[in-house]
């Protein structure tokens, strides 16, 4: 149980300032956050609040300029080098010259898995995202939702415990999004992963998360952290319960409070 006590992500007084021609931009300021093993944490806020930037700092795609952050007890750089996380981007970012199978094989090839091992993992992850039978297709032959599922399979293939998802369903229509949200929860329950999920949709955040981090812009900061009281087992119609609506209300209040109406 000792391993479980180490937070997956731990940020203290984290800040990130971009130097631009128009002067410094404070993308993140004084962010304190702990993500525990098995959590499903959503980051929600208006654009420019630093939610994507925070995810990219965890992934070592950006460097913090102030404060401290550890990922699995290591620096983000060491965590990236030990391949501790799978990252799902806003767009599927599948390589068009590779079949779905080969796209999932990409991280496995880079990490040096044997061919037999690759086959087994491809079959398993395709099954996890309900894409069995589509392995031989090229990305353009699949719908947007299926492409995004393939990119999730690719992030799951190498068994990282942490899944970082940056508005993965932002470009999809609401019906597909509902369906994928439901599938994502099932996947989370089956794989026991820790998920950090960036979104700008309140229902999506409330439906998926065990914790919701509400952020606000200029400077990007955390204004509220809400522990969800919903059970882990969540059918889609839980979204009409008073409990759900109460959490959604609190998120909305948090967003409103943090929002500056200067413009």
């Amino acid at each position: 149980m000792n391993e479980n006590s180490v937070p997956v992500v731990s940020a203290r007084k984290l800040g990130l300032t971009f130097e631009t021609n128009d002067g410094p931009v404070h993308a993140l300021s004084n962010v304190d956050l702990e993500v525990k093993r098995g959590d499903f944490v959503s980051f929600i806020g208006p654009s420019g609040c630093g939610k994507t930037t925070f995810l990219r700092v965890i992934a070592d795609l950006e460097r913090a300029t102030a404060g401290e952050i550890t990922v699995n007890g290591m620096t983000p750089e060491d965590a990236r080098k030990s391949r501790s996380y799978g990252y799902v981007f806003q767009a599927p970012a599948l390589y068009p010259w590779r079949t779905i199978e080969k796209n999932i094989a990409l991280p496995l090839e880079i990490m040096g898995h044997s061919k037999a091992e690759r086959q087994a993992r491809i079959a398993r992850t395709l099954d996890l995202v309900n894409l069995s039978g589509f392995g031989k297709k090229y990305p353009w032959q699949l719908s947007g939702g299926m492409q995004q599922r393939a990119s999730i399979a690719r992030a799951l293939a190498f068994d990282a415990d942490l899944l970082l998802m940056d508005e993965p369903f932002g470009a999809l229509d609401e019906i597909v999004r509902d369906h994928l949200n439901e599938q994502l929860l099932k996947l989370w329950a089956r794989t026991q992963k820790t998920i950090c999920f960036v979104t700008h949709s309140i229902p999506e955040a409330v439906y998926l998360s065990t914790r919701i981090v509400v952020m606000s812009p200029r400077p990007g900061r955390v204004t509220d952290i809400i522990e969800s009281t919903l059970p882990r087992e969540r059918p889609l119609d839980i979204r009409e319960t008073p409990e759900f609506l109460a959490i959604a209300h609190r998120v909305r209040e948090g967003l409103r409070a943090g929002h500056s109406y200067e413009e």
Binding site: A59, R80, R83, G86, F89, A93, Y95, W97, L106, M111
Partner: protein
């Protein structure tokens, strides 16, 4: 159905243009050759009917502008009827030009790819090499070609290699520029993805940059192979080369063998069309095998 549409959409417009060109060519041939023919007739004291006169302008041995059928006849005689070993065989001359074109194209493509890989991966090369590469193409090749041939000839390098060198000089440039663009074409997300896997620069190159650059490579190779052919012909022009389409053009202009010149010109154009088409077909095959959406 498919076939009918192909004829209507593709063949018909091309055919129409060919007919227009042929018509203009015949009209041009008449007016260009008429003064000389009139002169001939006057000296020989012949009066010909307009029809006879028209025919004579299309049948001169050294016309100012040969008529299309004269060129075609010459082309036919010097390809199909002539033995391959004959000095007059256009197939023989085409082969001489083709061999140095292909050698130069292969070397140029390889060189262009290596330069592009260097430019994309080494910042210093990006800054230092690119201006020189662009400057290299500002040099008029017609002025450089004789120097190259003479200088290499002085150290006893003659024949194919100097010509191929000029082809290389012309063909590396489009490949280098296109390949740099192609190697830099991956989106930020695709590159970030490689970073999250902690991929090495070599892995990023082989698994992302190189496959992404392939369509760009084939587009530039089409330009490069045509440039290679021009390079090989230009390499044959100034040096009194004994064989090759360039030498045919030069000999034709020395002896006013206009029909020979035009036939060599047409042979060169056909060669270029065939080469570009072959590269295009190769590009399509490779594109299809890389999961390209059928057009």
């Amino acid at each position: 159905m498919q076939k009918e549409r192909l004829i209507l959409d593709r063949t018909l417009p091309v055919l129409a243009i060919v007919l227009i060109i042929l018509a203009a060519w015949y009209v041009g041939a008449f007016f260009m050759n008429a003064p000389f023919q009139r002169d001939l007739d006057r000296r020989a004291n012949v009066t010909s009917t307009p029809m006879e006169f028209l025919q004579k302008t299309m049948a001169q041995p050294k016309p100012v502008l040969p008529a299309p059928h004269q060129v075609m006849q010459n082309l036919f005689e010097n390809t199909v009827l002539r033995s391959l070993s004959s000095n007059r065989s256009l197939i023989y001359h085409s082969w001489v030009t083709l061999s140095s074109t292909l050698a130069g194209f292969a070397a140029g493509t390889l060189l262009g790819m290596l330069i592009a890989i260097g430019i994309v991966h080494v910042k210093v090369l990006d800054r230092s090499l690119m201006p020189w590469i662009i400057a290299s193409q500002m040099v008029p090749i017609l002025a450089v070609a004789p120097m190259v041939i003479v200088v290499l000839g002085a150290i006893n390098i003659t024949g194919l290699i100097p010509k191929a060198f000029i082809s290389t000089y012309l063909s590396f440039f489009p490949v280098a520029v296109g390949m740099v663009k192609g190697l830099r074409s991956p989106e930020l997300l695709q590159l970030d993805l490689m970073r999250t896997y902690n991929a090495t620069a070599a892995q990023t190159f082989w698994k992302l940059r190189l496959p992404a650059s392939i369509p760009f490579l084939f587009t530039s190779m089409k330009v490069a192979i045509a440039a290679s052919l021009v390079g090989a012909i230009v390499g044959e022009l100034p040096t009194g080369a004994v064989a090759g389409l360039g030498s045919k053009l030069l000999a034709g202009s020395y002896y006013s063998q206009t029909i020979d010149m035009w036939a060599a010109l047409i042979a060169g154009s056909l060669l270029a069309a065939v080469l570009v088409t072959l590269v295009d077909i190769l590009g399509r095959i490779v594109g299809r095998s890389m999961g390209g959406r059928p057009a």
